[in-house]
């Protein structure tokens, strides 16, 4: 019994001294949050609006972005849709789940899947895209899609903000979609499919979290896509007055 005492004592002493010596000379690993990648989440509605067309059509539109991640990797859920109040149906309902990584100072690459589940036939696509800030402050988002059946298409979104004042902002948007193969079932023809051009005047009412806006949007279908729309009794060109808000949480 007595023999053990000095042993235990010396063990205790050396145990308590070793870490002290070690941390004086070497590094105690920093395990605090500071040493971890900063995790960020966001929920934004770039567009959340009511549209009224020149042919008295009323639709609700959103374009939303929810994400979580670090500088090196973000998981994103991108959702956009158009709901016709008259027909009580989704003319467009698109959801993308993508992973995003930085590829240059100002640009990110995205890859994932896109599910289209509007009224009518559904589609699933693989997505590959780039998004970022081009010179002269143009926000660019370009994507390539391949459907399960092998149909390929691409879209390009560009946005520019003009600061009338530091609170009144005029935002110009241009979206174009092109298809490299026809998908008659969903009314998509080969070539340039459609463009949407918008001009919105917003006011930052609550920080940049709530910015109501009014604007005009012009939609147009082209080529075979326009022919398909006509054949189906739809319009090929629409003008909308829009009222909505940009939200950011």
């Amino acid at each position: 019994m007595k023999l053990w005492m000095p042993l235990i004592a010396s063990a205790v002493v050396s145990l308590s001294v070793i870490p002290a010596l070690a941390s004086a000379q070497e590094r105690m690993p920093d395990t605090t949050q500071r040493k971890q990648p900063l995790k960020v989440w966001g929920a934004q509605f770039e567009e959340l609006e009511y549209r009224y067309s020149d042919s008295d059509e009323e639709i609700g539109v959103w374009d939303a972005d929810f994400f979580y991640g670090t500088d090196n990797f973000k998981a994103r859920w991108l959702s956009s849709g158009e709901y016709s109040f008259e027909e009580q149906a989704y003319e467009k309902l698109e959801n993308q789940l993508v992973g995003q990584i930085p590829i240059s100072t100002f640009f990110d690459a995205k890859a994932g899947v896109r599910f289209d589940t509007p009224e009518g036939p559904d589609r699933t696509y693989a997505v590959l895209g780039v998004a970022g800030l081009a010179p002269q402050w143009f926000e660019i988002d370009a994507n390539l899609y391949v459907s399960k059946d092998g149909d390929t298409s691409a879209d390009l979104d560009a946005e520019y903000e003009l600061l009338l004042t530091n609170y009144w902002i005029l935002t110009a948007t241009f979206d174009a979609t092109a298809a490299f193969s026809e998908d008659r079932e969903i009314g998509v023809g080969k070539g340039l499919v459609s463009t949407e051009t918008g001009l919105r005047l917003s006011y930052d009412l609550v920080d940049r979290a709530f910015s109501p806006y009014v604007g005009v949007v012009h939609e147009r279908k082209y080529g075979d896509t326009a022919d398909f729309a006509r054949a189906d009794g739809g319009s090929t060109e629409d003008w909308f007055v829009v009222v909505g808000a940009r939200l950011s949480f």
């Binding site: 105690m28 971890q36 934004q44 500088d71 402050w137 530091n166």
Partner: protein
């Protein structure tokens, strides 16, 4: 038996050590009222900012810090020279203070001057967890004053700090409401012509940089000693008295330009160390810096202490008055500064030839320093008539000027009152490029964020020369813990001794450090959200006296627990 012996030995030692003071601080949830909004925050002893701790040089202090929060906390004694385990940086000096726990800091006070303390855990500091420290010197001070006040500046933001960080990460210009507008475009056109304005806008647009990127975090209320501009903190005086104002910038993100219209200020101390007195009309205080000035109001009237933010988006205001309730006019905010191409001088890939001799002053290590002393500042004026300061890029848009056209303090004016160390050649130079990406709101050193960085290793006993190269368009107040930062202003052994060194965009600044403190230390940009985004390093000092380790094991409580 052992314990009694140790206690006995300690009590015998105590008189030899001299004074021993015990202080108590509680870390509490507090309510902060800025006069413009009310916010929950963190404070000490129930208030934010916390109390002023008054120490005496030579004293052995014990500070009991009780954590009443439901999260970990810590206190860092900013600018104090002490054993590294007492420095209060979780993960580097100690594990931190758990909720409900009382941690006792023990260290000798080996210096004097104005300092401050703040939490180094999470975002507690911008939430209000800071306070001031006054250390009375053992000897006589080389200046006289009849009265003194701490003037502690903060930039209180209505948003919680976690949310500020998130907003900046998602939208880096979230809080910037001083951006260039269509209106400014037209006024620039009428001033500089259409073509040159368009050219300038295109040049900036090409870089995807904003000339208005001076203040990341706007929308704050500037506070002095816990009072907003409307609440008007007031310090009383008798006309003719010399008042020592101990300015501390404990802001999260904001540099302030400080003036007291009607009064000359004599700067006598910077970062706690006496400097040769400089008379100024205005000075810029970087985040985490301190400046002690002496003013002598002769008239029976009120004077406004006006602290305008560098980006002119906000201000703090206080009053010096012979009687409570007296007020002096509060000046308006000046036009916000705009960065120039010179401020981009450090950007990689920029054509330096175009920049002229941008910042040659600071870039030439072998320059004849003796020339600096009598430097004629007027000779350095830009041809365009802009102001100049060797610590700003030549032609920088950030160079401050005094509101009354008088003297604005420059780092170049700071000369140590008494050299702290013998002048000697540094053993080596360590280059630290201050880097970042404003669009992603990532901030780093040498392009590497703290999460991916190896520590900087220094050797005990060496003198190192740090070369800061600011490659970003923002100003970074770099703070090295535990050891002095001897700022190279070209004054040789009279170079000022600081703890925080501001590095302006597009400039190169040198500082030297006598590596005389073993252990491991933090080294970082003191802008809260730059630090949190990665502009941070751990410094390991290898080697050093045995005594530190002995002192270390004497206090097992510091290292115990979950290391």
């Amino acid at each position: 038996m052992m314990r009694t012996l140790v206690a006995g030995a300690l009590s015998l030692l105590l008189p030899a050590i001299g004074l021993a003071g015990e202080y108590n601080l509680t870390v509490d949830r507090v309510t902060i009222d800025t006069g413009e909004f009310v916010k929950e925050g963190v404070g000490y002893n129930g208030t934010s900012p916390g109390p002023t701790l008054r120490f005496k040089e030579g004293e052995e202090v014990s500070i009991n810090v009780t954590n009443n929060l439901d999260e970990m906390t810590s206190i860092h004694w900013h600018g104090l020279i002490l054993p590294f385990e007492q420095d209060g940086v979780p993960g580097i000096s100690f594990p931190g203070i758990k909720p409900g726990e009382t941690f006792t800091y023990r260290f000798p006070i080996t210096q004097s001057g104005t300092y401050w303390f703040h939490s180094h855990s999470g975002f507690q500091e911008p939430e209000g967890a800071s306070g001031s420290i006054i250390i009375e010197p053992e000897g006589r001070e080389p200046f006289r004053y009849d009265r003194e006040y701490v003037v502690q500046l903060t930039d209180k933001h209505p948003h919680a700090s976690e949310r500020v960080m998130r907003n900046l990460k998602i939208t880096p210009d979230y809080y910037n409401r001083k951006q260039q507008t269509v209106g400014e475009f037209f006024s620039d056109v009428s001033e500089n012509g259409f073509l040159s304005t368009v050219k300038e806008r295109l040049a900036w647009g090409d870089m995807r940089m904003m000339q208005a990127d001076v203040e990341d975090l706007q929308g704050f209320t500037g506070m002095i000693n816990g009072k907003g501009p409307e609440q008007n903190w007031t310090g009383l005086f008798e006309p003719g008295e010399r008042i020592r104002l101990r300015f501390i910038n404990s802001s999260a993100m904001t540099y302030f330009d400080i003036r007291i219209p009607g009064l000359k200020m004599t700067v006598v101390q910077a970062d706690g160390n006496n400097v040769q007195p400089v008379n100024v009309d205005e000075f810029r205080i970087g985040v985490a810096e301190t400046y002690d000035v002496i003013v002598r109001p002769k008239d029976e009237q009120a004077y406004t202490i006006f602290a305008e933010s560098m980006g002119r988006s906000g201000y703090a205001r206080a009053t010096l008055a012979p009687e409570e309730g007296m007020e002096a006019p509060v000046p308006g905010l000046r036009e916000p500064a705009r960065l120039t191409m010179a401020d981009m001088g450090g950007m990689p890939g920029m054509d330096h030839g175009d920049m002229g001799s941008a910042n040659k002053m600071a870039e030439m290590p072998d320059m004849d320093h003796s020339n600096m002393e009598g430097m004629d500042h007027s000779a350095m004026m830009m041809p365009e008539g802009g102001a100049s300061d060797p610590f700003y890029a030549k032609g920088s848009g950030l160079v401050p000027t005094a509101a009354n056209g008088g003297k604005f303090l420059s780092y170049a004016d700071l000369k140590a009152q008494k050299p702290l160390y013998e002048e000697r050649e540094p053993a080596r130079e360590i280059e630290l490029r201050l880097t970042g990406n404003m669009e992603r709101y990532t901030w780093s050193i040498n392009g590497v964020k703290y999460e991916d960085a190896e520590p900087i290793r220094l050797k005990y006993g060496e003198r190192v020369r740090f070369k800061f190269v600011n490659e970003t368009m923002m100003t970074h107040p770099m703070h090295l813990h535990g050891m002095w930062s001897i700022l190279d202003v070209g004054a040789g052994q009279w170079n000022p001794i600081k703890h925080t060194v501001s590095v302006q965009p597009g400039t190169t600044v040198y500082m030297e450090t006598e590596v005389d403190a073993p252990g491991q230390w933090a080294f970082h940009c003191h802008l809260t959200y730059h630090m949190a985004a990665g502009m941070f390093r751990k410094v390991i000092v290898e080697g050093g006296p045995e005594s530190t380790q002995a002192a270390f094991s004497e206090q097992p409580s510091e290292i115990g627990g979950d290391v």
